[in-house]
């Protein structure tokens, strides 16, 4: 459905995106994940044929977006960060206007508007002016305008921006319903939203794709996978303090940094990150060295950690290319 090759966008001398390459299959729901300024919105606006890339190639549904952006626009529905709405229009009239813009046949208009209203749960406010609706409803109208013409590709930029928890759950449900009929591309910096709604993730960091795959695949890419926190006490009468603790755990793979004293001063805290679950090994080493094991916590590395590690590893932005002579 989408093929992107070496896509790059510069604003003046500053690189906002790229070079990035990826492919998205028909019917997939893919999430662009990244911190603010990672290049998510730039990438989506290029795919929506609003921004022209500085370099690279984009194909949507087999159509070269650079050579024929107008044809690509016929195949997409786009919800930007700020929903493009006309406050004086009623929801129904606005969707009718969007149908006209999107070249929907007059005979299909009524049915398509009805479907979009039902899918976005806007039927009850269809006759209300958009300017009188709450933020959540306006965002829904924004989604409705992106899907009313049943495009092949739906692009949603931060669809849950400014939502309360109940609205987030409802939007998640709506995106799940879209998955049956459209290829959906959405961006977010909310990990839970992306991980729960998307088949696949593209993690962007400093304008580059720093990870791609399912949540499990991304997690598997990262080593270590387990994080172990422990508190160890040196019993009275035993010498060494922190040095004794480190000596006891010296053979454990993945010991990070130094031990630090606990707030109460009754022991030493340590952090171990390993691709194996080393809890048993750690407890045997501590007790075998004659030390007291006061606390041992372990948890699998989650998407949040994976995300932060990927983004932190992203290379810094390159300067703008020199103009061709």
């Amino acid at each position: 459905m989408i093929q992107v090759s070496n896509l790059t966008k510069y604003y003046g001398g500053k690189r906002a995106l790229g070079p990035v390459s990826f492919e998205i299959d028909k019917g997939e729901t893919v999430g662009f994940l990244g911190l603010n300024g990672a290049g998510k919105t730039t990438a989506l606006r290029i795919l929506a044929c609003d921004l022209r890339p500085t370099a690279g190639a984009v194909s949507v549904g087999g159509i070269d977006a650079l050579a024929n952006p107008h044809e690509v626009r016929r195949r997409i529905g786009f919800l930007p960060e700020t929903p493009p709405l006309y406050p004086e229009m009623t929801v129904q009239a606005f969707l009718g206007f969007v149908c006209d813009l999107r070249e929907v046949a007059s005979s299909d208009k009524k049915a398509k508007i009805g479907n979009a209203l039902a899918l976005t749960d806007l039927t009850l406010v269809a006759g209300e002016p958009i300017g009188t609706l709450s933020h959540g409803y306006r965002q829904r109208v924004g989604v409705a305008q992106a899907i009313v013409h049943r495009p092949q590709l739906v692009i949603l930029d931060e669809p849950t921006r400014g939502f309360d928890p109940r609205q987030i759950v409802e939007m998640r449900k709506l995106i799940h319903e879209l998955k049956d009929k459209h290829t959906v591309l959405l961006s977010s910096h909310q990990l839970a939203e992306v991980s729960q709604t998307c088949d696949r993730l593209l993690v962007l960091g400093r304008g580059q794709v720093v990870g791609a795959g399912t949540e499990a695949e991304l997690g598997a890419l990262q080593e270590p996978m387990f994080s172990v926190e422990l508190t160890v006490r040196v019993p009275d009468g035993k010498d060494g303090g922190a040095a004794a603790v480190l000596a006891a755990l010296g053979g454990i793979d993945g010991l990070l940094g130094k031990s630090v004293p606990t707030e109460r001063g009754d022991g030493w805290e340590l952090l171990i990150s390993s691709k194996r679950d080393v809890r048993a090994e750690v407890s045997r080493a501590v007790i075998g060295a004659g030390l007291d094991l006061l606390r041992l916590d372990a948890r699998a590395v989650d998407l949040e950690n994976t995300f932060l590690r990927l983004v932190a590893a992203a290379p810094a932005a390159a300067p703008a290319p020199a103009p061709k002579e």
């Binding site: 929506a48 044929c49 609003d50 921004l51 022209r52 952006p69 107008h70 044809e71 626009r73 016929r74 997409i76 786009f78 930007p80 960060e81 700020t82 929903p83 493009p84 709405l85 006309y86 004086e88 229009m89 206007f97 969007v98 006209d100 813009l101 999107r102 070249e103 305008q145």
Partner: protein
Amino acid sequence: MRAIYMIFRREFAAYLRSIMGWIVVGVALLAMGITFQAFGYKSALASEMLQQFFWSSSGVVMIISVILSFRVIAEERQSGSLMLLSTSPVREHAIVIGKFLATLAFLTLILVLSAYIPLLIKGQGKITGTQIFVGYLGLWLLGGACLAVGVFASSLTREMVIAAVVAAIIVGGMVLLYKLSLVLDPPLRAVFAELDLWWIHFQNGFMRGIFNLKDLVYYLAMIYFFLLLAVKTLEAKRWQ
């Protein structure tokens, strides 16, 4: 054509639904009435009175045209709704022409509502319907040219104040071209005089009930020129 009609319909409906639109209508009619009272009402001849009405109304039309048009694209860019048009399969010329026609239709509404003044003058003395028609055609074309300037200024920026100032400077500058031409030597004198927006083509022609084809061509060319600039500006900004 369909896209032009859709954009025209939405834009024109927005004028009709907005309180600000009707305030503009009210202010325009009030200004036309007051300026006519101040400058034209005391003329002895009905034909002079009519000329004074078109003279004073031309200033109101130029100002109102800038007010109606400076926001049409800048406001959409500021609110984000332009994104809907720019990611839809709609060409730039359809956006520009649709919006221009909506502002022109609203200006036409104002001009139609002001027609009671010439009709009152007609009741007072001897003037023909053709004089009234030609005068109104001149106001309409002058307003159209100013609207085209406003649409162009609006396409340049997202800041409505800047768009308004740019439109006012262009319109004001073009009205002063005739005065500038007086201090120039031929052939520049003739060139600048013919490019003037008001003195040569409106005051010496339409306002006096005289129809010159060159005046019609001038205003149509001005409208075409500034709308073309607006289309090119949108094209450059849309896919950059």
